[in-house]
């Protein structure tokens, strides 16, 4: 049996509807209509021990709701979840011993106090031997470089420092699973890199199963072996990043630079698609049917640019394309 089994999971919210205007407000006091919003709609997946899975989707896709059900906070409307053989929302205490939870939008630290005080508290909160606790503390203090700000009140710390501290305290009791809801939200590039690298290290070194939600593909690229894409509560893709790329490979992006004001005229007989152009620069999409070598030779021969840059299509663009194609099928 797999470690985490999610089977036909649904979560519905009942939303009270208020009709327009004053009379509508009065009416809704006595008789209320509800609409049912399906935040998570019939999602199934399994996750093995030691995997690192990125749960990706736009805002309101149902990512946080899923994480909250997995971690035992919310009770599903229907469907089942088992994590390590137990049902998280039925056995919250037992489940809590095996998981660490980090919500990017919210801190677990005491605002007015230094980090060291929160660490003391966690020592007694989880039933692990004090010696292991001490060892873990030292390990994560080192890994995240927490020592520089250990004794400052948390309110003086930067967002990045707080996030590092939050992840560290979620790991002190050696959880089997670490859930992270938007762990890199609002962080600068350096902090993002530290967070991503550390998560990768933890996953490899401690075999901690990592499940993170994000809408930043770079998080997934840096940390996860696998991604699950959801939108409007439904699963659109589940597989490795490589599979994702192969399946939705959309070719390459070429950027051609010319002398200012001296860009030639684009010729429509070309096999490529021009995405954006101005008087000294073209952005060109090259479909996967052409190799980059062919494309380069043709573009250089025909248009003679000064510089030519090649990049992969950003994965966000691919995601956007999948969203729109799936929703086109719907309509």
């Amino acid at each position: 049996m797999s470690y985490i089994v999610v089977d036909h999971l649904c979560k519905e919210y009942r939303i009270a509807q208020t009709e327009k205007g004053f009379s509508g407000a009065i009416k809704s006091l006595f008789h209320r209509k509800y609409t049912v919003k399906k935040a998570v709609n019939n999602i199934s997946f399994v996750i093995e021990k030691g995997e690192s899975v990125g749960y990706i989707g736009p805002n309101g896709a149902g990512k946080s709701t899923t994480i909250k059900m997995l971690s035992g906070i919310l009770i599903p409307s229907s469907g089942t979840i088992t994590v390590g053989g137990i049902i998280p929302y039925n056995e919250r205490k037992e489940n809590a011993k095996h998981i660490g939870v980090v919500f990017g939008q919210r801190s677990q630290l005491y605002w007015d106090l230094p980090l060291s005080d929160t660490l003391d508290l966690y020592k007694y909160l989880y039933p692990i031997p004090y010696t292991s606790f001490k060892k873990n503390c030292d390990f994560y203090i080192e890994l995240f470089g927490l020592n520089e700000f250990m004794h400052q009140p948390v309110r003086q710390l930067s967002l990045g420092q707080k996030m590092k501290a939050n992840i560290a305290i979620a790991l002190l009791h050696e959880p089997d699973i670490l859930y992270l809801d938007e762990p890199t939200i609002g962080l600068d590039l350096t902090s993002k890199k530290i967070v991503r690298d550390s998560l990768k290290t933890i996953n490899k070194l401690k075999q901690t199963t990592i499940i993170l939600t994000t809408h930043d593909m770079d998080d997934i690229e840096a940390v996860c072996d696998r991604l699950i894409l959801i939108d409007q509560g439904e699963k659109l893709f589940d597989g490795s990043l490589r599979e994702f790329r192969t399946k939705y490979d959309d070719g390459l992006i070429f950027k051609l630079e010319f002398e200012k004001g001296a860009a030639p005229i684009w010729q429509n007989d070309c096999a490529f698609e021009i995405i954006d152009q101005n008087d000294h620069q073209w952005i060109i999409g090259v479909p996967p049917t052409h190799s980059s070598k062919e494309a380069m030779i043709e573009l250089i021969n025909r248009f003679d640019p000064i510089n030519l840059y090649v990049s992969e299509k950003s994965i966000e663009e691919i995601v956007r394309k999948i969203y729109s194609s799936v929703h086109l099928e719907d309509t």
Binding site: Y13, A39, G60, S64, T65, K68, S71, G72, I73, L74, I75, R92, K93, E94, N95, A96, K97, I99, V101, F103, Q105, R106, Q108, Y110, D112, L113, D117, T118, D120, L121, K123, Y124, L125, Y126, P127, P153
Partner: protein
């Protein structure tokens, strides 16, 4: 296990104390403010009671005993539960409450411990103990060992009843948003009745305060026994000795109610 629980509660308390005292001016002005506010209530009640001569056979100092017992029980409950009870609604809306559901201790315990303690109640406790002691002295009360034990039990039972009121009232946060005037009425206005001897009220109110919202169990019944007062007609004389049991029952019921509320909990969207 017991040792770990003790250490956990201790470190939560240390954190709560550090948080309260992190801003020294706020802390001190809070304590002094409460002193003035409750001092004024005591004085006005005392003036009222002495001017009326007697209220249902209770003189000014005896009414002070009544009120100080109520305030002392309330403050002991409040030190641990005021922040939790009044803050639960906000914590649910901000999503902070979710943390209590992902910890290896019961959610109610975590929610209470992590809400911090209201150290300002030190002022209520000190002022009510002072008034209680001075009132007994002015009544030339002869204290015995048995009476001491009785008082301690009475105060602790009262604190349990108050704690039950704090926990039960916070349950509303699972269903409604923001403060509920009905809760404020039960928590604060109904309790005002217990500043006076129960005998002055109509029978209906006497029954409510004894059996339904047993606030009279916190102070009126124990004080009646302590000061040798007769109970209102129709109430058995063993009632004062029931307060510990009533306290335990009320507290258990409130915990039960709270957990029932929790099962209806819907976390916030994000």
């Amino acid at each position: 296990m017991a040792k770990r629980t003790f250490l956990l509660v201790k470190s939560f308390m240390v954190i709560a104390f550090k948080r309260e005292t992190a801003y020294r001016a706020t802390f001190l002005s809070g304590i002094i403010g409460q002193w003035i506010s409750y001092g004024a209530t005591f004085i006005s009640l005392y003036i009222l009671a002495t001017n009326f001569g007697q209220v249902d056979g209770w003189n000014g100092s005896e009414i002070m005993v009544l009120y100080s017992m109520s305030l002392l029980s309330y403050s002991i409950g409040g030190i641990f539960l005021f922040n939790f009870s009044t803050g639960l609604s906000r914590r649910i809306r901000s999503g902070e409450f979710d943390d209590s559901l992902t910890k290896p201790i019961p959610p109610l315990a975590h929610a209470i411990l992590s809400s911090g303690f209201n150290v300002c109640y030190i002022s209520h406790i000190s002022i009510s103990i002072m008034v209680f002691v001075f009132s007994l002295i002015s009544l030339n009360y002869s204290m015995s060992f048995v009476n001491c034990v009785f008082i301690i039990f009475a105060i602790l039972s009262g604190a349990m009843i108050q704690a039950a009121a704090f926990i039960a009232s916070s349950t509303m946060a699972f269903f409604t948003v923001g403060n509920n005037p009905l809760i404020d009425f039960i928590m604060y206005d109904v309790k005002e009745f217990t500043n006076y001897p129960l005998g002055i009220f109509p029978k209906g109110i006497q029954y409510i305060l004894t059996f339904i919202l047993p606030f009279a169990m916190m102070n009126f019944y124990p004080a009646s026994t302590l000061l040798n007062k007769s109970l209102p007609e129709g109430f058995p004389t063993f009632l004062p000795y029931l307060s510990p049991i009533i306290g335990l029952i009320a507290l258990s019921l409130s915990v039960f109610l709270w957990n029932w509320g929790l099962s209806h909990y819907k976390s916030t969207g994000s």
